[in-house]
Symmetry: C2
Subunit: 645 residues, 2 copies
């Protein structure tokens, strides 16, 4: 099988679109924020995931299936997918580093998976074997096609990095089996958890086999027509309530909704289906404008791990699952490639720093599954030798009974280089800023070599040095985040210009050594919530560059509680320490009341003190704490107007 | 078996306590708010419940068990309890009315239940039969003792109204079986859903058999010691996290927590266990001060139908299950009897008008399961011929797959007379106001006859006329709700006095025709939330007497939405129409924004208009609507201070 050179190591590889992804192998993150994350991922997270899955028998499930063992498999119904996501992470990592452990781990694991495949291509350790439920007997909850989708994605990553192998061949057999089983003459339904849809389109891109694209279209067009049975969460839970092209906003289970939307963009792009693309763009806009947290997090409800209504965005009960952050990146990246609008990269940046980076600890061996914007109780340290419940603790946990997040973070970090920049006939676009080297080729064949130097996000200076002369002029485009517009400054030699738009561009035939500098303002700033968000009325948040800040009880004076903190309306935050901020605050102590709904304002005791803030991604690093992103304004200031006038 | 005359028709019958309940048969609700509810219950709800349970096969489960039929039963694992709660409602109704249908329905149903009992006293249609799971093989979720508890409560109601029968005998056999199976030498665990605890104490009160009290003590002392297996919701879900006497607040599944606390009060009272009583009093205080909605509703989370953290009280996601309202009445009534503090009756009044009365429609054939304080989307009419999901609609539904609420409302309304008044050595206490006649006896043997005339809660005038001369002086005590203190007026002949305390009392040897009048202020008033409730910051609620008011979109001018309503801080509500209110409001239209977290206040368009309010219990009577209890203050008033100073 020939894998086109053009698709090598691209995270996603559409055949059409405004922007063209470059290979993750063309980008080397050399230092700073993301280099540390990639290092922990490579050196700790991958082994950590492998160890836990061996220990819990999730990988042995494949050996048992290969041996035709009787009865139920270990773990939950989606356990196979964790092995696949780890394989995908290992495949990406193999193209990033030369660690022989990575290669060996990949090959051993892939062989065990391939051995479990049935003769007709079917592959799942929980269904269809002796003493197991029949294949496709539980489409609502069985996750068979979901698992298959992740298997195919692992194979796609392999095909695009070190090239085709037995896992890729197995994925093709699996995809062929799915096309038989669910094709025009097959089962007229879909999987309760979308994922096979983008996977099939990506496999089409790798192989050129059109039947995979056609099958993805069948799955996407079938959804929203009640082909799945009724469940207590309602059909919106798995997006079976409204056809994809008729929906106006994402709803139901957040990860399901985002994976499905990503698949719909893939299908729309490969089919030149502009109406479908426009439908997903509209869904993205309404979701980002009304159903997304300031962190970029998605999913307002624990019940059903789902989106809520418009403007239903409670901080304390925010679910904001790490995997929904991954799904959001998948969707926004595809839309960015399709239409080139920097707003998609803006949301990706917000999500990378405040959801993806929040989940793992610095060591890469403990994770947040949910990412609420507030903790009212400090919680307790999770057990380190037992899998935790998904949302039970305020602390990162080593593993979960439903452990989708660690491997999802792992595959994202391993492929991160592929998301920093794109090319187009005009030139090269830098979307995310990391200390890095980029060595790639423009569509016209011109080689480009860039050295990006920055301590972003702790500092807003981004310096881009061109490594070689260009024969022809091209456009270097630098994204200016929404919060920096009108204050960002582009420096090109002696020229300094304020940037008002969403990109700063320099067009010329660059000479080796040319340096372009972008200055983004990263001092702490105040943000206000839309007045329709009930949960945030009367509060403010502090942001600094792309980082959302939070207050933690560990930083409070003894005897005070986070629930008593109020911020005077005139207070302005200032930078503090390495990457923190500080704001003038008031500690209001309200007397205990037998009934919390009272006819007039209560008398409170007030003491002023500075409140320290740290980046949200660092919260809970110092042990159990209560935490708040949104800080209430001093109540007296506005309630007084309410009652005394 | 002798049933002591003293316990006849009492809803609960403690042997100790500050106040003594009177028989429900001594109270006749003659008109007004609750008379209408009792009439709908008697004439429609009881038949409605019976019809649905026949149709779904829940009652036939007993016939199948009696016949030794193979395999699973219809409905969910707690379906038996619905038949028992209906039996309890029929038993209470039989003492209130002389409808032969009620008597016949009770006897037919009781016979079918009794026939299903096993020779050793065990009774459950889902466990222990051929092809069914073994008895007590799933204490976490099986609900066997929970169902048994409701069976015993039905028998207690029968014993106290028309007297012992075969159902009462069966309940005694069932209780004896439970004492064998779970006694000191038996299974050392508890049921995942408390309910058998208060039932056993009540059966002890009926029979005098001490082993039932001892068994209740075993169950209550065992809980909180992790005798149940771990579940994803955590041990707090079924209160197995902390021993009852060590807990400081109610937590976990709200109905479970409230039923358990009610049983603990029963045990404490009968055992003279003041430490246990004090523990539950403390739990009540912390729960009411920090975890209760303004409606009296309890349960802030859909996930686990549970209490949230302190001050976690979102309006839109309020669960506030109708059954938690019933559980709250059970608990507060027991505490009122134990220590006589009117605060318990205050909460009962709030819960009766704003939770219990909200659930059924006026016809008594459709019900709310959850009672949120806000609906952001109007929802759709539920199907009338299919059981609804618990929380899926903004409209009352005829039945639910988990249909605990309709029968719980039915048994509460049928026994409501028993909750209006108590006696004590000092005299008689009126706790709840309804147009009624009360004919009872004081502990010293003096007969008392009172005629209460009122249109409460639509009007605050309560007139109490004594029907016969008293030989000795006694104290007539009238509860003054917390919101009326300092403005309520007691009128005794020519004497008018403002009442500052929680009761208005008149002490004398009353003469026939003496009339005492209490004037409670029921004009609409403004209430403010505790500043620690994030979900309510910057909002106000309107209350009128014991009624919480709400705004519904059906009352808005065309083209406006409830989400756009703001109330100026200086606005004051005024009465409107029969039982509504009106307040000056502003409609703010915020322009659509691509991102809802912005660096400064937005410009909005404002139009003023009066906003109509209706009592919350009447919401959704006029079809699908959006709804709000808490109204945001006009934002400009306070945000301006925040940003412009």
């Amino acid at each position: 099988m020939a894998i086109a050179e053009a698709t090598r190591a691209r995270a996603v590889s559409p055949s059409r679109g405004q922007l063209i992804p470059i290979s993750a192998q063309d980008v080397r993150i050399t230092g700073g924020f993301w280099a540390g994350r990639q290092k922990a991922n490579a050196e700790a997270t991958l082994r950590h995931c492998l160890d836990w899955m061996e220990r819990l028998g999730w990988i042995a499930n494949f050996d048992r299936a290969a041996a035709g063992a009787e009865g139920p498999s270990a773990g939950r119904e989606f356990a196979d997918s964790e092995t696949y996501k780890l394989l995908e992470a290992l495949a990406w990592e193999s193209s990033r580093s030369a660690d022989p452990w990575v290669d060996e781990a990949y090959r051993t694991l892939a062989a065990r998976v391939v051995a479990a495949q049935q003769a007709d291509g079917y592959l799942n350790t929980r269904f269809g074997g002796p003493g197991q439920p029949a294949r496709y007997s539980d489409l609502e909850w069985g996750h068979e096609l979901y698992c298959a989708g992740h298997m195919i994605q692992a194979a796609v990553a392999r095909a695009r990095t070190l090239g085709p192998d037995k896992l890729v061949e197995a994925a093709i057999r699996l995809a062929d089996h799915i096309c038989e089983a669910f094709g025009p003459e097959g089962i007229q339904s879909v999987c309760g958890h979308p994922e096979v849809e983008p996977a099939l389109v990506e496999l089409y891109r790798v192989t050129g086999h059109r039947r995979y694209l056609d099958q993805a279209r069948l799955f996407i067009e079938r959804r929203g027509r009640a082909s799945l049975s009724e469940i207590e969460f309602g059909a919106a839970y798995f997006q079976d309530d409204i056809p994809v092209r008729d929906a106006t906003v994402l709803r139901g289970h957040a990860v399901r909704a985002l994976y499905l939307a990503a698949g719909a963009v893939d299908l729309a792009v490969e089919s030149a289906d502009d109406a479908l693309l426009a439908a997903v763009q509209r869904q993205w806009e309404n979701t980002v404008g009304r159903r997304t947290y300031i962190t970029g997090g998605m999913g307002s409800r624990h019940e059903g791990e789902s989106f809520g209504d418009d403007f239903e965005l409670p901080s304390d009960r925010a679910y904001s699952e790490t995997c929904a952050g991954v799904g959001s990146l998948m969707l926004s990246w595809r839309l960015l490639l399709a239409d080139g609008n920097p707003k998609y990269a803006d949301l990706m940046e917000r999500t990378l720093y405040n959801v993806i980076a929040t989940s793992p600890d610095a060591a890469g061996t403990a994770f947040f599954y949910v990412n609420p914007l507030q903790r009212n109780t400090p919680g307790v340290e999770p057990e380190t030798d037992a899998a935790s419940l998904r949302a039970a603790s305020s602390q990162r946990a080593p593993w979960f009974e439903v452990s989708c997040c660690p491997t999802n973070v792992a595959r994202t970090l391993a492929s991160l280089g592929g998301y920093l920049a794109t090319v187009s006939p005009e030139g090269l676009q830098l979307h995310q800023y990391a200390d890095s080297e980029i060595e790639t080729t423009l569509p016209d064949g011109q080689p480009v070599h860039l050295r990006v130097q920055t301590e972003y996000p702790n500092d807003g200076l981004i310096s881009v040095t061109v490594g070689a002369d260009s024969a022809e002029p091209w456009v270097l485009s630098l994204r200016v985040p929404e919060w920096a517009r009108g204050i960002a400054v582009l420096v090109d030699g002696d020229n300094r210009s304020v940037v008002y738009g969403s990109t700063a561009t320099v067009t010329r035939a660059f000479a080796a050594g040319d340096t372009i500098r972008l200055e983004l303002p990263t001092s702490p700033r105040v943000s206000f919530p839309d007045s329709r968000i009930d949960a945030l009325r009367g509060t403010i948040a502090i942001e600094a560059g792309p980082l959302v800040m939070c207050a933690e009880s560990v930083d409070l004076p003894v005897g005070t509680e986070l629930a008593d903190i109020r911020v005077p309306g005139h207070a302005r935050p200032s930078p503090s320490g390495h990457d923190g901020a500080s704001i003038n605050a008031v500690y209001e102590q309200t007397p205990a009341a037998p009934w919390p709904y009272i006819p007039a304002k209560t008398e409170v005791t007030r003491n002023g003190a500075d409140l320290n803030l740290v980046p949200y991604y660092r919260w809970a690093e110092r042990g159990p704490s209560t935490m708040r992103v949104w800080l209430p304004l001093a109540e007296a200031e506005w309630r007084k107007r309410g009652t005394d006038e």
